[in-house]
């Protein structure tokens, strides 16, 4: 029986190495396109949206950001406090862009798998935080 060729594995490892080296996209806030910054939140005045957003937060975000959204330190990773000024000052469009694209270099995954409506509900909840 012919043995597996190590060259195949070395090639694939090198391919992944190049992919890793290309990773990283800098500060998310500066990269939000102008048209995305000004997108309005269709759920901004929806009375149910904060409660629905809180449910989505508990399901998907609390693991990293804490049940109270105060942030967490997990090993060497610091998960930001969502009561902070950055969230308060960010436009809904900027937050929507962040949820859609993530800040992958900093460990924040993309949440594009959540339907648009649920991401907007989550933003309504984040904006309601004291």
């Amino acid at each position: 029986m012919t043995r597996p060729r190590p060259a195949v594995f070395i090639f694939v490892l090198a391919l992944f190495g190049f992919a890793f080296a290309a990773a990283g996209d800098g500060e998310w806030l500066h990269r939000v396109p102008a048209k995305d910054r000004v997108r309005p939140n269709p759920f901004a005045t929806n009375s149910d949206a904060p409660a629905a957003g809180a449910k989505i937060f508990a399901e998907h975000c609390a693991e990293c950001h804490g049940e109270d959204a105060q942030g967490k330190t997990q090993g060497k990773h610091v998960r930001p406090n969502l009561h902070g000024e950055r969230i308060k000052q960010a436009t809904p469009g900027e937050l929507f862009w962040l949820l859609t694209n993530g800040s992958q270099k900093n460990g924040m995954p993309s949440w594009s798998r959540l339907p648009d409506a649920q991401r907007w509900q989550l933003i309504t909840f984040l904006k309601s935080l004291p």
């Binding site: 012919t2 391919l15 890793f20 409660a51 957003g53 693991e63 694209n101 993309s110």
Partner: protein
């Protein structure tokens, strides 16, 4: 009771015990909405997903079988997920056996969302010809593969590459996988495909906690099959399947997924039934270091 039935029951008992233990652990939900097709979604960094993906069938002229792939999926980075599969199967009137393991990695080279999001996939398989997990169909895989009696002496060490192309658009997910697989013992490259589309039943979440709200369900469909090999590329002598997929993400609970699959030609099994139960443990190693 026959010895192989006792072994199957013992294995089932162990599986139930594992599920009961996992039920005590806080968890979140799996990402994909398919059985065979991969989407762009990777495991969140630090999370561990444990899933049992099973398929049952009764091939014409063969013995009914049930195969399970126990999956451990860990998110190293937002752009890198690794998985270990342990495969096993039981075939009526034959035996219950462990059929091998698979180690896979998925890497997302583009970090932002695009119209089409590519993911690179590499897998090494060390399985035997008794494997019936049917995690993909490639080359000239067919119903005849299920008719030979269980034999684990015939090893298959294979490398598999996939190009995963996936899009989220207007709350729909559409994913296409192009598969190339090579048995490392000097066999030709084999090819296959998988295509899926899915959508949550409701787009907005309800304000009240509920287990049966439509936003907890996703409906979809997938089609997959072989495309021959390097010497005979194309559809002749290949098998293909199609089926709807239903996913139920139980809030603060596990994810259940079901899919009846229908063979599309004479080379395919007429009917397969797939089901999956998965748990996702958030920040697994952090919890191990400081359990609270």
């Amino acid at each position: 009771m026959k010895p192989h039935s006792r072994r199957a029951l013992t294995l089932f008992g162990y599986a139930l015990a594992c599920v009961a233990m996992l039920a005590l652990v806080p968890r979140i939900h799996a990402q994909e909405n398919y059985f065979v097709t991969y989407s762009q979604e990777l495991e969140e960094p630090g999370n561990l997903e444990i899933a049992a993906k099973s398929v049952t069938g009764a091939p014409k002229g063969g013995n009914p079988f049930a195969a399970t792939a126990l999956e451990f999926e860990y998110g190293f980075k937002t752009w890198w997920t690794t998985e270990l599969y342990l495969d096993g199967q039981t075939t009526a009137s034959e035996s219950t056996l462990f059929t091998g393991f698979r180690l896979e990695n998925r890497v997302r080279p583009l970090l932002r969302e695009h119209w089409i999001n590519p993911v690179l996939y590499f897998e090494f398989e060390d399985i035997n010809t008794a494997d019936k997990a049917l995690l993909e169909v490639v080359g000239h895989d067919s119903r005849a593969d299920f008719l030979t009696r269980n034999n684990r002496s015939d090893k298959q060490r294979e490398a598999e590459l996939k190009l995963i192309l996936s899009s989220n658009f207007k709350s729909w997910n559409a994913s296409e996988n192009i598969i190339a697989e090579k048995n490392l013992s000097n066999s030709p490259w084999e090819f296959g495909y998988a295509i899926g589309a899915s959508r949550a039943l409701a787009l907005a979440a309800s304000a009240k906690p509920c287990k049966f709200c439509p936003e907890n369900f996703a409906l979809g469909a997938e089609i997959y099959g072989g495309l021959g090999d390097r010497h005979s590329f194309g559809l002749p002598h290949t098998s293909h399947y199609i089926g709807p997929v239903v996913t139920w993400n139980i809030p603060r609970g596990p994810t259940l997924r079901l899919s009846p699959n229908f063979g599309l030609n004479q080379n395919s099994n007429g009917f397969l039934f797939r089901f999956m139960l998965s748990y996702e443990i958030g920040q697994f190693f952090s919890k191990l270091r400081s359990p609270r």
